[in-house]
């Protein structure tokens, strides 16, 4: 029997709840609470401010990267002295005929005729390609003088968008008075690859490289990570070996990414002789880096599934694998997906390991497959930020915007999936 003992020394004075000292203590307590709330709020405001600054400066610079200035050019084929094998254009050798023709000369002559000696400086190096495409699409344009909008040179482009050299600004003024310049969407940027001329660069190559790399990473890291987590949580005995594995995995998650790059270089390139700069090697390397994150998140998610659900399933005679696949994994999936998002987001933004395995090479066309040379978005940003020409500044910011949109899209898909699988119990 329990007996409460309320004897013992009697309090000398009863507590004075309304006294001055007590009131002071109460005020102090509320004061501390207010100060803490204020501190928290200012921390949030500060971080929101940083984020807003980042976004505004990024958008301010980057959005210009998605547009390009174009200059009107009247091409009088006879006057430019342009020649092309018209007969071949209609046949299967059209491509060769187009390649053989001197479109560069045509643009130059037409520019000199229209805008004087400095005329050719107004046009980008890719202007000839645009003219060639126009002729290739419809050879009948060769029959009469052609008026076409061609991309402006980088210097003029800068003058149109912000401020350029004195010469370029003067040219811009003249062209504007003649209604011979306009700004349009820069399709080259959305469909092209890396180039040396900032008006000719595109992000598609790097985007596709990143896409392929992420695909390899996800296909490797997700199943291997989740299955490791299932094994460690549901099957592995608790002993020194599993403790060691657990510690190793936790440490792996914290290893600097460049070290994974060196590992990838040593194993996949030097030992296994996989192709350099290829998305498959990038994906393998990033998978190594992402896997520990997925394993840790999945283990926590699996741990959080209430044991009563396991008991219930075992109690009706489910085998362990049935318990795992019918009950535990579906309930842990939201948590697993959250971990995967974090891991994949980190992998997508990772530059250092990709530099180590050669994905910093200049790749002027989108990768054809997993083993073709490719670039990746963060590496492309790194490379462009290193360029001296002014035109690359806005391209760098534009590439960052593309990377962020990719990231947000990836997260949105994962969050959608997570909410879809989220269940209450």
């Amino acid at each position: 029997m329990i007996k409460a003992d309320i004897s013992g020394p009697v309090d000398p004075t009863p507590t004075n709840w309304a006294g001055e000292a007590m009131q002071r203590r109460i005020r102090k307590r509320y004061g501390a609470e207010r100060r803490f709330k204020l501190l928290g709020l200012s921390a949030v405001l500060l971080s929101v401010g940083f984020l807003a600054f980042l976004l505004i400066s990024m958008l301010g610079n980057g959005l210009r990267g998605f547009t390009a200035a174009e200059v009107k050019l009247d091409v009088n084929w006879q006057q430019t002295g342009f020649t092309i094998d018209r007969a071949a254009l209609a046949g299967p050798d059209a491509e060769a005929a187009l390649r053989a023709a001197d479109f560069e000369g045509a643009v130059r002559q037409a520019a000199i005729l229209q805008y004087g000696e400095d005329g050719p400086d107004l046009f980008s190096g890719v202007a000839r390609l645009r003219l060639r495409d126009a002729v290739g699409d419809d050879p009948s344009v060769l029959d009469r003088p052609l008026t076409i909008w061609l991309p402006a040179s980088s210097a003029l482009d800068q003058a149109v968008k912000t401020d350029g050299s004195e010469k370029a600004e003067r040219a811009y003024e003249t062209l504007r008075s003649q209604d011979a310049i306009r700004t349009g969407i820069n399709w080259t940027f959305l469909t092209g690859s890396d180039a040396t001329d900032p008006t000719a660069v595109g992000i598609w190559g790097a985007f596709k490289g990143s896409l392929l790399t992420m695909m390899v990473t996800l296909l490797l890291a997700f199943p291997i990570g989740v299955l490791s987590a299932v094994y460690l949580e549901e099957y592995a005995p608790r002993n020194r070996w599993t403790d060691m594995i657990e510690v190793s995995i936790n440490n792996l998650a914290a290893v600097p990414s460049i070290i994974f790059g060196l590992l990838g270089l040593a194993i996949f390139l030097n030992f296994m002789h996989l192709p350099r700069s290829a998305p498959i090697v990038g994906g393998l390397t990033l998978a190594l880096m992402t896997m520990p994150v997925i394993v840790i998140a999945s283990r926590n998610a699996i741990k959080a599934v209430p044991p009563s659900i396991r008991d219930a399933a075992l109690g009706v005679g489910a085998s362990r694998i049935q318990v795992v696949f019918h009950h535990v994994l579906p309930l842990a999936l939201p948590g697993i997906l959250t971990g995967t998002i974090i891991g994949m987001a980190r992998a997508l933004g990772e530059t250092a390991p990709l530099l180590m395995i050669g994905m910093r090479a200049f790749v002027a066309s989108p990768p054809e497959g997993l083993t073709a040379p490719a670039s990746a978005l963060p590496v492309q940003i790194f490379l462009w930020s290193d360029e001296v020409e002014r035109g690359f500044v806005e391209k760098t910011s534009a590439a960052i915007i593309v990377l962020l949109v990719f990231l947000l899209a990836m997260n949105a898909v994962a969050i959608y999936l997570r909410n879809k699988f989220e269940k209450r119990w």
């Binding site: 009563s308 659900i309 009706v316 009950h327 209450r424």
Partner: protein, 271 residues
């Protein structure tokens, strides 16, 4: 449905005089968690016709012992079971015994209602499905309906079988769990304090259900509530400190205990 206010114990038959072969037998069972001995030399017979109640103070090992009867203790890495436990004369800890099948034959209802976060139908259909008890959809429907009817839940849920099992009230959830256990057609049903999380009305319904299931399934129930043990069971085992102090007819245990410890516990002197 019988009047809830009439305790089922009113019609409870006394334990059969000439007992037939026991459904489950345990002889000299010891259970260890690591170095700690939780069960010490327990021997008991469980009969198909009876409801057997395990009573005793908290931590006396009655739940642990219950979980050895369908090898749920296998999932605890440190647990070790010694002794001989037989179901219809078959050693359930023998290598040849398939533990998955054993748990289907010896079903279990847990302390906290633990329906799967799936539909009511799926909750009941899960067991039959993994054991392949239904050839087609129609057979499955029959099994689910029969199980829910036996668990006394059919009338309440027949129009919302696709609703989540977790959306039911606590008492309904527990009856759903009983339906889930019944669905695989077990021979023994183990109930681990099935009413401890329920209100008195839900408890009365479960007790009534236990009463109705008696005879069809051997039922073993662990309970803290001595009135409940007296109401629903024909045999009672009093556990204390990991061993059985007294085992016999419920009426005998409650009216005329042989051991002073049993008497002290029943009269509320400790526990």
């Amino acid at each position: 449905m019988t009047d809830l206010m009439t305790p089922p114990e009113a019609e409870a038959a006394p334990a059969p005089a000439a007992a037939p072969a026991p459904k489950m037998t345990a002889r000299g069972v010891n259970v260890f968690y690591g170095n700690k001995q939780a069960i010490d030399n327990v021997s008991i017979d469980v009969f198909r016709e009876d409801v057997t109640a395990f009573i005793g103070p908290s931590g006396c090992g009655k739940s642990t012992f219950l979980r050895t009867l369908n090898r749920m203790n296998d999932t605890v890495a440190t647990a070790r079971v010694e002794g001989d436990i037989r179901l219809d004369g078959e050693d359930i800890y023998d290598r040849s015994m398939d533990v998955v099948q054993l748990r289907a034959r010896v079903g279990m209802v847990f302390q906290k209602p633990n329906p799967f976060p799936k539909s009511i139908f799926e909750n009941v259909a899960y067991g039959p499905r993994i054991h392949g008890l239904a050839e087609n959809k129609a057979e499955m429907d029959t099994i689910v309906e029969r199980s829910l009817k036996r668990a006394g839940l059919w009338d309440e849920v027949k129009d919302r079988l696709t609703d989540s099992g977790t959306a039911l009230s606590g008492g309904q959830q527990q009856r759903l769990c009983i339906a889930r256990a019944i669905a695989v057609d077990p021979e023994v049903i183990l109930m681990d304090e099935p009413c401890s999380a329920l209100d008195p009305i839900a408890t009365a319904k479960i007790e009534e259900l236990i009463h109705e299931l008696r005879g069809r399934y051997a039922i073993v129930i662990v309970t803290h509530n001595m009135q409940q043990a007296a109401r629903v069971s024909q045999r009672t085992a009093f556990f204390h400190l990991g061993s059985i102090v007294e085992y016999g007819d419920t009426s005998g245990i409650f009216t005329n205990p042989r051991e002073t410890r049993t008497k002290d516990y029943i009269t509320g002197r400790y526990g």
